[in-house]
Symmetry: C2
Subunit: 772 residues, 2 copies
């Protein structure tokens, strides 16, 4: 309904805002003050420490003019790193995530060229839009689309031919990509050094037998059933109460650090504080002594509580991490059924220690089924009834509707510029606002479902979000957009009628999706690189909360690529591109711009900002693959429906072959590649075991595995003490302040496992704090 002019206005606004974001980013990133917001990854890897300028102003503001002139130089910089470097710098997940964007470019660049060169002339040169009812207003964009082709035209063979071509091309690239990603995964897994998760299996639902502790029965069970391979196990404790004390101690330690720092800066005056509520009244005491004493008291309580948790058999959960003396033994245990009763002794490959979502280990197994049921009902309701508010808002965004609701706005709305703005910008924005809070909700839902690995949990949240996007953004926009004209007729149609109805609406909604791509894809991605929210939060924290360096470390928190949101978004763009490739090819260049820009931005972010909190070794790829396949199927079905309304009866049967081919292709890929993502071949495990046995025949594996899967709360306590020592050591080297990131940038360890342990540490405590 929007005209070409509306789109022009919208494009201008979005390009301008995207440009403004990029400019702001370019200016802000070179300020030393923001260094920890825009380059936190380098702080974490240890190659950046403190602002480089010694000048006082220079510490906060960049004074060199030359750097302002080259403000777009982050783009070539982002492209410099090779894939292998990205893997070692940010992990396989990030590298494969970037491959999705290049896959999008690989798929859509040739499709765009072919579609524009062939389809636009074919569409434009033919007929009119006379067959459409008068009340469905059509825009100029429609003249470039399939809507412009006369019914029964022989030209539809061109569209069908191109649909075949595009499907084959996409499948070809998908196959190649799946192959590459699968072998990347296998190569990475094979090249990995010794890691604790290679030897460990998580056992859930350990049966409680009377007179025996969980630990004993785990020990007995695995000693009996895996006598040659069982090594040791780590019980899991329910440490919620202990956690409260640890949190309190953290706070006290922070205050102590603060006062010690203060005292070091002004050694002439010992800091004092009142011990009453919020330090506002009560007896005045020497702060350092007071906090030291308090910590001592708390340490004792902690030790007691810790003993209690570890020794009380009731606090041991019926879950255990069982370690084996070989990768082979662990691979066997993870893939086999242990007990006659299939709901007991459930074994699964253990996630990395840093990937574990500890809270969910405490969920009793029985409630998991109920949780899954409840959540799936909730997701269903969310997916299907979320439509109502969106439809409402969109009906408002429909200008005629808005005028009817608020007639007093008419004079303003009728201004040509504002009208274009509203029509081009509002619907996309309204939708985006709705979608803003959703990923958080879905992640929480997945947490409630009880997945024990953060990676799984995020993948499940991504799946939910994808269903949501498919039904609400894609189908919902198509149906409700026209629903106010068509709702009644749609409700009374037969099953075969539905793809038709949607198919007919598809070309009419092209303008809506173009504005959506510009708002969400262009401006949204430019906003992503600006990191406005983390920037503000960091500075606010720095101003009000940061007392010590540990606080500054924490305030810097770069986060990781937000898979639950970005993956489904990407998949929506694939869907839009594939569906509109044949129908309204003019939409394709907009998608191309999105893919290219997003690729650059995420490459930059992955190199400079994000710090993945886990490494799932591209475990999300099968989902990406199968959703692009789903997009192909949807596009074929809708084209079938669209063509059937065009009375192109001769040509439509040709299209029926395509979904069958696509499904067979999918099944083949699943069969061929998916086991690489789900299973653990024994050949591989044995080869690594043998190589290791040759290399280090006297390896003490038990010592290596000891405590690897201890609840982080127990370890953070021990680490805390070391940290304190480290912080003090740093003080003496750099007494002015703003020292290097205490634990994280401390003596860069040559041994990979150790550095990994430290990172783990960081995330544990981060995580622990985020979800009390």
């Amino acid at each position: 309904m929007a005209t070409l002019e509306d789109i022009g206005v919208s494009a201008f606004i979005n390009i301008a805002s995207a440009f403004a974001f990029l400019l702001a980013f370019a200016l802000l990133r070179i300020q030393p003050l923001n260094d920890r917001v825009y380059f936190p990854k380098w702080y974490i890897t240890g190659s950046r420490t403190s602002p480089r300028s010694r000048n006082f102003v220079g510490k906060f503001v960049n004074l060199r003019v030359t750097t302002y002139l080259t403000f777009l130089n982050w783009m070539p910089q982002a492209l410099k790193m090779s894939e292998a470097e990205i893997i070692s710098h940010a992990g396989v997940d990030s590298a494969v995530f970037l491959r999705i964007y290049t896959l999008g470019l690989k798929i859509f660049v040739p499709i765009t060229v072919v579609a524009l060169l062939i389809l636009i002339p074919v569409n434009v040169s033919d007929g009119t839009l006379s067959f459409l009812k008068r009340d469905l207003v059509t825009s100029n964009i429609d003249k470039l689309s399939i809507s412009n082709v006369r019914p029964q035209s022989i030209r539809f063979f061109v569209h069908i031919g191109l649909e075949y071509l595009f499907t084959l091309w996409t499948c070809f690239l998908l196959f190649k990509e799946y192959d590459i990603v699968a072998s990347m995964r296998l190569r990475f897994l094979a090249s990995q050094r010794r890691r604790v998760e290679q030897f460990t299996v998580v056992v859930q639902n350990v049966p409680r037998s009377s007179g025996k502790s969980v630990s004993d029965s785990v020990e007995h069970f695995f000693k009996t059933n895996h006598p040659e391979h069982y090594l040791c196990h780590q019980a899991v404790y329910n440490a919620n109460k202990y956690a409260v004390i640890v949190r309190r101690r953290h706070r006290l330690q922070n205050w102590l650090d603060y006062y010690q720092l203060k005292f070091e800066r002004h050694p002439e005056k010992r800091p004092t504080s009142k011990i009453g509520f919020c330090g506002l009244w009560g007896e005045r005491v020497d702060s350092i002594d007071y906090y030291k004493e308090q910590i001592k008291i708390l340490d004792k309580r902690m030790a007691v509580e810790r003993e209690k948790v570890i020794n009380d058999p009731k606090s041991i959960l019926p879950v255990a991490f069982v370690s084996f003396n070989s990768r082979w033994g662990a691979a066997v245990c993870a893939q086999t059924q242990q007990s006659k009763n299939p709901t007991l002794w459930l074994t699964n490959w253990a996630p990395e220690p840093r990937d574990i979502f500890w809270k969910n280990l405490a969920i009793p197994f029985v409630s998991l089924t109920i949780r899954k049921l409840v959540i799936s009902l909730l997701v269903f309701a969310l997916v299907f009834f979320y439509m109502i508010p969106i439809a409402f808002v969109q009906s408002l965004a429909n200008l005629e509707g808005l005028e009817r609701v608020a007639p007093f706005l008419r004079p303003v709305i009728e201004l040509k510029f504002i009208k274009s703005f509203l029509q081009g910008f509002l619907p996309g924005l309204a939708l985006k606002m709705f979608l803003y809070i959703l990923p958080t909700v879905l992640v929480i839902m997945s947490k409630i479902e009880g997945y024990i690995a953060i990676s799984t949990l995020e993948r499940r949240a991504a799946a939910k979000y994808y269903y949501f996007m498919l039904v609400n953004v894609f189908l919902g926009s198509i149906i409700t957009g026209t629903a106010f004209q068509q709702l009644h007729s749609f409700m009374h149609q037969s099953a075969t009628q539905i793809p038709r109805t949607i198919g007919v609406s598809i070309p009419m909604k092209a303008t809506f999706f173009i504005t959506y791509i510009m708002v969400d894809g262009w401006a949204g991605i430019a906003a992503e690189i600006l990191r406005l929210k983390p920037l503000i939060i960091y500075h606010l924290k720095n101003m009000f909360l940061v007392k010590t360096d540990r606080d500054r470390e924490r305030a810097m928190d770069p986060g990781s690529v937000d898979f639950p949101e970005t993956l489904p978004t990407l998949q929506l763009y694939f869907l839009l591109g594939i569906v509109y490739a044949v129908v309204t090819p003019i939409l394709l260049p907009f998608i191309l711009v999105f893919f290219a820009l997003a690729y650059l931005v995420y490459r930059h972010q992955i190199i400079n900002v994000y710090n993945q909190r886990y490494e799932s070794v591209a475990a999300f790829w099968p989902h990406v693959h199968s959703r692009i396949i789903a997009a192909l199927l949807i596009s074929q079905l809708l084209l079938l429906g669209l063509l059937s309304t065009k009375e192109a009866a001769n040509s439509t049967p040709l299209l029926v072959v395509l979904p069958v081919f696509t499904l067979v292709f999918h099944k083949y890929c699943k069969h061929r590649f998916e086991p690489a993502f789900r299973k653990h071949p024994l050949e591989e495990a044995m080869a690594k075991d043998l190589a290791e046995r040759e290399e280090e025949p006297n390896l003490n594996l038990k010592a290596y595995l000891a405590d690897a899967y201890l609840h982080p709360i127990f370890r953070s306590f021990a680490a805390e003490e070391e940290e304190v020592v480290q912080v003090r050591a740093d003080k003496h080297q750099d007494p002015v302040g703003s020292p290097s990131g205490s634990e994280l940038s401390s003596p860069s360890p040559p041994h990979h496992a150790y550095r990994y342990e430290v990172n783990t540490q960081h995330y544990y405590s981060y995580h622990y704090e985020a979800e009390p």
Copy 2:
């Protein structure tokens, strides 16, 4: 459309024919002549040998009058054996198969009582059928059904309440039954003595590496990856050429036996024969010498060919049976992925040697995918387009249609008796005829699909047959029956309209299904016990083909329970009972009679006749379970559709909860019980290993496993020679003729494994002959 009278006539005919069959059976079974047809199982187990009467006539005809008076005494006899005895007599498959019938009785007896007592009064007392269009003629049966209840009646709450009650009752029994069957299976598996398949895994798609034979690479792979558990392996040979020679030798051996017998009976005259075509011309030679010489020549050729097959690396298929030194090792290998490439080194638990369908082992793995695709397309076509001929026949069986097609038949058809007969009997019969050849076709399709175990193959065929029955017998009868009135309106309805349309037709088709149950269920089951076809074939063979005792053994062939046909049939009865329980409860007693009669008949057959050719330990139960669940879902959906046409808007929403509950129940059962049928718990394997190691510490497992999975063709040759010796030994004890079943009833072995081997032998050769 059929009136109560029509049903009465049909019932009379069917009861009469069922009675006639039972009478015939009672008379025929006590004739010694038919002993091998009606009691072959006892010959096979060795407890019956030759006819008991010594009188010449008495050898063929039963002359004792008393036995004729107690002609129905097989019924109590059939009930005598306990379940444990049936398991040891006929296997778990048979025992669990019988449990399906008792499950049917347990489900439907209370449902029938409740439905008849509550629903019939509710239905009869209400309203008329005024809401139906005049042109849909309604029968008296409809007055007892839900059709008789006025629209918007409050009485529908009774129907919904009962649907809830019946669903809960069925689920409760299903749960209990699944539990019992699963523990029966586990108990049986745990109590089994040492068996070769416990130690063996079948490996498919062994990659061919240059310069290495398949045997070598199997050996190397498993020695590397299962170093502590690998014991040995059996290569699989492609022995098609060898098989031809073996078959020829079989024939010659038969002739030799025949002439030797002849010579023994008439020692005064050595038999001679001509060596030309069919023994009709050519040189006359001494038969015994000639055949002995021929056999000798053939033996030499066989030895050469055998060597060639075994030594030629090209005849080794990329399949192997790999044996391990413990059940634990085999369980591990069967459940894990071996190689990085998931299409290579596919391991699966090996079927019993007698269960293997050897021909399919030679199918290259690549073609399996294609075969599966092609067959599934074929099955789809068969399921959905088989309807057309059925619809045509049924439109003929519709009397008005028949009169229109063949007006000259009108005077005959208009006779009241014939009209009733045709209307009651024809539609059921027409359908049954169509269904007669189908199972064979479906088994052949499953064979082409390439399953390597006969049990899997039969289960797959049963699944195909079930889909067929569901679409064609159930839905097809409902839709096409009314299709000639409703086809047009049906084609143009929306998706939600379909359950409605079917729901409305459901009560109208009750009479059709009642006649179907009587024809297929009552008369059909009575015909089953008569074994008319095997009886005739046995006597024909005995007259013309049987030359030696081995031939008579073979002619006796009892077969086994025909799972591909009986399981889906049973499932159809469950579907009918569950769907009609609320709609037209008068149908239920007919189903009850079927279940009771069929239970008796199959109990008798399993005890006296059938000899299972494999033991899958109730592997079909998950299918039975899930199809009864499917029946519940279908009934709920159709009731929902039916009620929505009754404008019972207040009550229908209540029904929506039920499918959700049913699905959750299904998921729970699947999760809880299905692994017992699919996986092999390590705990179990280890326990048996340990027990065995204690019992027989010096067991030579390698010797035990050697040749267990050798292609039967190589073994049947060796066994043949022994058999000849045995046959002669029997001769000397009983020179008059008709001696005991040579190999099978020979010295009843006390050791289970040995008896099993002998049975195996029998089936191998049987099978081999049946599928050249």
